[in-house]
Amino acid sequence: MNCFGGGKFMKKLINKIKKSIGNMNVRVVVISWTLFLLTPMLDIFRYQLIVDNRNFWILNIIGGLSGKLFEVLLVIAVTIAFIWQYNSYHNKVKANKGVVTYISLSGGLIFLLSNYLIKIENYNYPNFLYSHFGLRVDRLIVYGFTGAVVALLAILGTLPVRSKINIKKYKLKYKLGGLFTYFGLASLLMNSGLTFSGYSNFRYLANLTYYDKFGSEFLLIKILKDRTPSSSTIIVPKQSVDWQVLGNQPVTRYFLYPRTLFGSGVISNRNKPWDAYFIYVQRPNYDWPEINDNKKCIKFYNDIGECVDYLTLDILWHSDNQKIYKVTFSKP
């Protein structure tokens, strides 16, 4: 307090802020919000200036400032929306039907529009919107998200008028608690807003194939499934950072069932199947498994693993860097 010249100054400042919040006019809300709605026009305008190579100095300045203006107007729009909510929260302003409809509809509309434009970008190529209209995707995401949140806030602000929700009852004496409640509600709304703004990501996740999820190891599983008998035993690598899918027996078993899986972590000269299949893979740093033709043994699990003796080893199928072997360890 002292660094501001004593408590009086702070009190005056707080009173002044309170007064200005109390006097917040509906027109200020509408004008600020409308200016925010128009911000993408600045990007389009700037783009036209660059494309047409025009040299009006005033237009250049406005165009050059479009990014900063967007940020400033974004902060103003969100602050106004929150202050407006704060006022209706403390019964200082009455919800104006026209303003609420305007804000909620336009907020919802810009959310949909932004998402539609982002969709166009995704369907074409990165930077499509910028190279055609001067619109930037990162700003569109923030733009649409802000629209959705402010629209939701506007709708929430009108509900106390005629429903069981009655913010008026939440009196000023619960000021701090009111802030907690308001903060909690806002965080929930923001959380919901993330769903709307990130819908394209959800669609991306839903469209992933097994190959997208499990990577190249899924191809190895597929080869094993296509090339080995369903009653066979398959030796798989030990689950590790290098073998996250093929080494993960519950995952691999889903695709290879009813084949029996034998893990490299448990195979030894004392514990091995009579015969089995495995896929030999050449990787840039090492091959799996290590086959020693001279000693007639195979090491399935890195340096400390035992070299397991075999009787016969036949190639069943091969490509450039993969082979399926059938190995016989002992006579039945």
């Binding site: 009196k171 619960y174 608690g177 909690g184 929930l188 769903t195 709307f196």
Partner: protein, 410 residues
């Protein structure tokens, strides 16, 4: 509401009977507890079936109501459309639920599934990590020979939770309040993001949330049938995700509330939780221990307990707390806001609000302490914390939302 609760109870009874019949075990103690869980389900269903319809009506402005209903429907349809277009199953489903359904089709019993891990040094416990609820639903789905992806039935739980919240809460929060709570729940990034994944988290959340809301309704109204239905649904969540500490949380909450207030409703909730939760806990524990011989996969020893206590003084707790909050964000924000928000004059004496606040607090404490202990006994605690904590605790969103909306209600 009655029909919805009956469907949820019916699904649990069906899976319980399925397990009973498919196992054909002669282990008397398991049979006893499994039959007790089935009968408690049938008893609850009977009580719910006799529930009288509430004819209360509320004047709502049609366009506002319509707008909110349209929004809720859009969210549910969006989730269904994502599920409908799914190209593949998700990791947990591939590794566990759909896999076990495949084994069931080959007439392999649940208790025999651990045999598959005989030649696996890392996943010996995996096939009995969770009870069979979703696996049986996968099995039934596959038996219908439909070409539709099973993600659709997971997605339908989004509609169930929306409908459930609306139907249970409309008499308490009002039509708009209940709709907003439902919309905030289904549109939350975590819940919607899980709705088209074949994970157990959403079905689990449905049972926990609707269970707690029904228990709250019992505290409000005094109708015992809500207590039965609420506790049964809540305890049934253990038939989906057994390793979650939900039963302990409810037991502590109701016992503490009774200890503080000496109010009879809390005593009934405590007894019902001990009875229904206990029978479910015992039936699955006996099944995994005596019939399937599931090996222990966590190793909390005296040394790890001592380490945890010492760790509290040498900085491990502070480091862990930062990781915990990061993994729990943003659910923790709404939860803490709901816990700290004060009660208005009228609501201040409402014991149901105190009950839910207590439930939220104890949940956070349980998960905090549980993962703290786990951090000294397993190497995978960090990945479990970052991946599953958020998914396991999404039920805190609607419950926190209830408190926050109630705070601004009449």
């Amino acid at each position: 509401m009655k029909q919805l609760i009956l469907i949820l109870i019916g699904l649990v009874i069906f899976t319980d009977i399925f397990l009973l019949v498919s196992e054909r075990s002669n282990n008397i103690s398991w049979l006893f507890w499994q039959i007790i869980t089935v009968f408690s389900g049938l008893w609850t269903a009977n009580k719910v079936f006799r529930l009288k319809k509430n004819n209360e009506t509320e004047d709502l402005v049609w366009w506002k109501w319509g707008m909110l209903v349209t929004l809720a429907t859009t969210i549910c349809v969006a989730s269904l459309s994502l599920a409908f277009n799914k190209k593949s199953l998700d990791w947990d489903s591939v590794a566990l639920y759909a896999s076990r359904a495949n084994f069931l089709k080959s007439e392999i019993k649940f208790s025999q599934m651990l045999e598959f891990s005989k030649y696996d040094d890392l996943n010996s416990y995996y096939y009995l990590l969770y009870p069979p609820y979703t696996t049986i639903l996968h099995y039934v789905w596959d038996m219908t020979n439909t070409s539709l992806p099973p993600a659709i039935f997971y997605s339908s739980f989004l509609m169930i939770i929306m409908l459930g919240i609306y139907l249970i809460e409309k008499s308490d929060l009002g039509g708009y309040g209940a709709l907003i709570l439902g919309i905030v729940t289904i549109s939350s990034n975590q819940i919607f993001g899980l709705s088209f994944f074949e994970y157990t988290n959403l079905p689990y959340t449905v049972y926990v949330v609707l269970g707690i809301l029904l228990i709250k309704k019992y505290i409000q109204s005094g109708y015992v049938v809500y207590a039965w239905a609420g506790v049964y649904l809540f305890c049934s969540s253990q038939a989906i995700r057994f390793s979650e500490p939900a039963l302990g949380v409810l037991l502590c909450t109701s016992a503490l509330c009774f200890w503080i207030t000496k109010s009879k409703p809390y005593l009934l909730i405590t007894f019902l939780t001990i009875f229904m939760g206990g029978s479910r806990f015992l039936s699955w524990s006996i099944f995994t221990d005596q019939i399937a011989h599931l090996p222990n996969f966590t190793n909390i020893t005296t040394v790890s307990l001592l380490e945890a206590i010492v760790g509290g003084f040498i900085g491990s707790l502070a480091n862990y707390s930062a990781i915990f909050v990061k993994a729990f964000y943003p659910t923790i924000v709404a939860t803490v806001a709901a816990i700290l928000s004060p009660l208005t004059g009228k609501v201040a004496n409402n014991s149901e609000i105190i009950f839910i606040k207590m439930f939220l607090t104890i949940t956070v404490v349980f998960y905090f302490c549980g993962f703290y202990l786990l951090s000294f006994s397993t190497f995978w605690w960090r990945s479990a914390l970052s991946e599953s904590l958020m998914r396991s605790t999404i039920y805190l969103i609607p419950l926190s939302g209830y408190i926050l909306i109630k705070n601004v209600s009449r």
